[in-house]
Every structure is written in structure tokens, then in C-alpha cells.
Subunit: 212 residues, 2 copies
């Protein structure tokens, strides 16, 4: 019994260390990049022992990959979960875009969109890190496209709407809001993006009244 309790304690401490390190790692990576992550630096930032952090994350690549997975979970909670119970389609797509803008504006990650920062960092460096970021990007694009497909199936889009182009344009408006708001310290760019999204979706809607 005592042995089990002690094992439980070790596991719990390991989980707490893991959570604390990943939380800090997500913020550091969003501001300075995944390249700035190291076991030593994070241990020092958090006042933990380097060996304790090493016991949880054995290598820099392991730490970087775990940080990407943790950031995906945070992204899903902030951006995707608010629409999960809604009927897919044009109105839900609009809400999804608003959640994305709020996620960047409210600095869910200290440096704005985690995936914008880290994909730009690794996009020209092939390897497991870029593969993980490409998979996350693919999942996000699939979510946008899925909402557009649902909108088409429900007859909410104009006949001539090209889902690939609309999805590409929405993605660009969101990323640009994040990029310009950060670079120029200008939250007004979220408002411009919101108006541009509204204009785009109304132009593609079979009936703009669908968007309220």
C-alpha cells in the first residue's frame, strides 16, 4: 500500500512538472520560437531542477513535440470547442472565425497564434517538427473546409462559390490579422479582418440574411 501511494505521488509530481513546463514552453515558443525551448532554460524559468524536467522530457525534440501537442489542445479548447455542438454551416463558420480572432487578440498564447509563429519558424526546415506543424495546419484547414462543405450541402452558398478559394482567403484574413496586430501593436487590425470576413462570406452566401 505504502509503495503504491509513493508511486502515485511520483506520477502526480511528474504530471504537475509536465503541465507547468508545457504551459511555460507554449508561451516561450509563441514569442521566441520553438528553437528557444531547452530543458535547462525552462527549468530555470520555473525554479525546477534540471534533472526533474529531464526525467519528463528526455530531449529537446521531445519537448518541442510535446509543446506542439499541448498547443493543439489549447487551440481546440479556445477556438474549436465553442462551435462543437453547433450545426455546421455558414453561421457556425462565422462564429469559428470570431473565436479565432478572439484567440489571437486575447493572447491565449503570449506571442499570439502559436501555430503562425512556429510554422513560420520551421517551414523551411524539413523534419519531425515541421511534419507535426504541417499536420496541425492541415487539421485547421480541414475544419474550415468542413464548415464550407456543410454550408454547400445546406444550400447556403452561391452555385459558383469555390470552396478551396474561400477557405484559402479566410485562412489568410485570420493569419494576417494576427501578424499585423502583433507586428504593429495594433488591435484595430482584428476589426479590419472581421469586416473583411463579413464581406467575403456575404459575397459567397446564397442569401446574405443567413449571416444576420
Amino acid at each position: 500500500m505504502a509503495v503504491e501511494a509513493s508511486t502515485d505521488g511520483r506520477i502526480q509530481r511528474g504530471n504537475e512538472t509536465r503541465r507547468a513546463v508545457l504551459s511555460r514552453a507554449m508561451d516561450v515558443a509563441s514569442v521566441e520560437g520553438l528553437g528557444a525551448l531547452s530543458v535547462g532554460r525552462l527549468a530555470s524559468d520555473l525554479g525546477l531542477s534540471k534533472s526533474g524536467v529531464f526525467a519528463v522530457f528526455g530531449s529537446k525534440a521531445e519537448l518541442q513535440l510535446a509543446t506542439i501537442r499541448a498547443a493543439q489542445a489549447t487551440f481546440r479548447r479556445a477556438v474549436v470547442s465553442p462551435i462543437e455542438e453547433r450545426e455546421p454551416g455558414l453561421r457556425t463558420l462565422r462564429i469559428l472565425c470570431d473565436c479565432w480572432l478572439a484567440y489571437s487578440r486575447d493572447r491565449v498564447f503570449a506571442g499570439g497564434c502559436f501555430f503562425f509563429a512556429t510554422a513560420a519558424e520551421f517551414d523551411a526546415q524539413p523534419g519531425v517538427i515541421r511534419d507535426a506543424l504541417a499536420a496541425a495546419d492541415h487539421a485547421w484547414r480541414a475544419l474550415l473546409t468542413g464548415q464550407l462543405r456543410a454550408a454547400r450541402a445546406r444550400g447556403e452558398l452561391r452555385e459558383e462559390s469555390d470552396l478551396e478559394l474561400v477557405s484559402f482567403a479566410l485562412y489568410g484574413l485570420l493569419e494576417t490579422a494576427n501578424a499585423q496586430a502583433l507586428l504593429h501593436d495594433d488591435p484595430g487590425r482584428y476589426e479590419v479582418a472581421s469586416r473583411a470576413i463579413d464581406r467575403l462570406l456575404r459575397a459567397e452566401a446564397a442569401d446574405p440574411a443567413l449571416l444576420g
Copy 2:
């Protein structure tokens, strides 16, 4: 006379070192970021003496700022100079966008758009580097907006066109082409961007025939 010749020789060698270092620095920064630049690393990459490079670039920040200035000159040659003698307006704007896509696709910088990579790196790190990147970004946005203003003055745009939104959307389509083509190793994204730009400009044109 001998002294002058020797001075000329030193200046020439300094200029050659400067050009070689900046050329390498632009490629390194576009792939790995401005944070990866150091006098020691560049000297070693190029087989130059560290002291020789130090004589030209005294500090890391000086090297980073000189690299940004050199990248702006390269960007102007690749993207802006092809339209400089053209009448500003909708057709010239379309050509400017094509030049931008070619600049990213042809890897004028090894890591794709230098300014996308480095702005994403520094956008959450206030200081002289971010200020220089913000100024470069501002100049690019002013160029896009200037073409749209000329198009409006020439009566090429629909009454209800909102120049700020069109400029923001174009910027997003270009950056997204670069980001996705690199991250997914997929040059097909330039084609999607080109079709999206065509669709956007035709939708805003008073007469779509203006775009050929």
C-alpha cells in the same frame, strides 16, 4: 599614391566582405531566423576570419539591421522594380501580385519570403529589430494601397470597394501562399493564391475586362 591604392584596396575588400556576409545572412535569416545570425557563424560559413567580419559588423544587432536593409533592396529589385515604369492601377496591381508570388516561389531567399519569416519571429519582441521589420511591412502595405488608390482615381474600382479591406485581403492571400507552399512543400498553393487574387480583383473592378 601607394597609400591611396592601399586604402582603396582595404575599402574594396571591406565591401566584398560586406556583400558576401549579407548575402549569406539573408538566406540564413529566411530559413532559421534573424536570431540565428552571428558574426562567428557567418564567418565560419563563408571561410572568412571572424575579426574581418567583426571589422564590418560590430555587433549582432548591427548585423541583423544591415541584413534587413539588404533584404529590402533585394525585395525591391525582385518585386517592385518590374512595375516601376508602369502606370499605377488595377492591371499594375495584378502584375505586382504576380511578381510577389514569383519572388516567393522562385526562392529569391532560400526560406521563402524574408519578411514573413522574420516578422513572425520578432512580432512579439519589441525593439529596434521589430521596428525595422514593421517599417518594411508598412512600406509594402503602402505600395499595395497606392496602387488601389490610383485604380480608384482612374475609375477602375466599383463605388462600394473598400480599399483597406481589399489591400488587407490581397496581403493575406500572398502571405498565405508563401506560408502554405513552404510548410507543405506544395507549390500548388501559388496557383490557388493566383486564382483567389484574380477572383477578388474581378469582383472589385468596375469593368472586369480591365484585367484581361
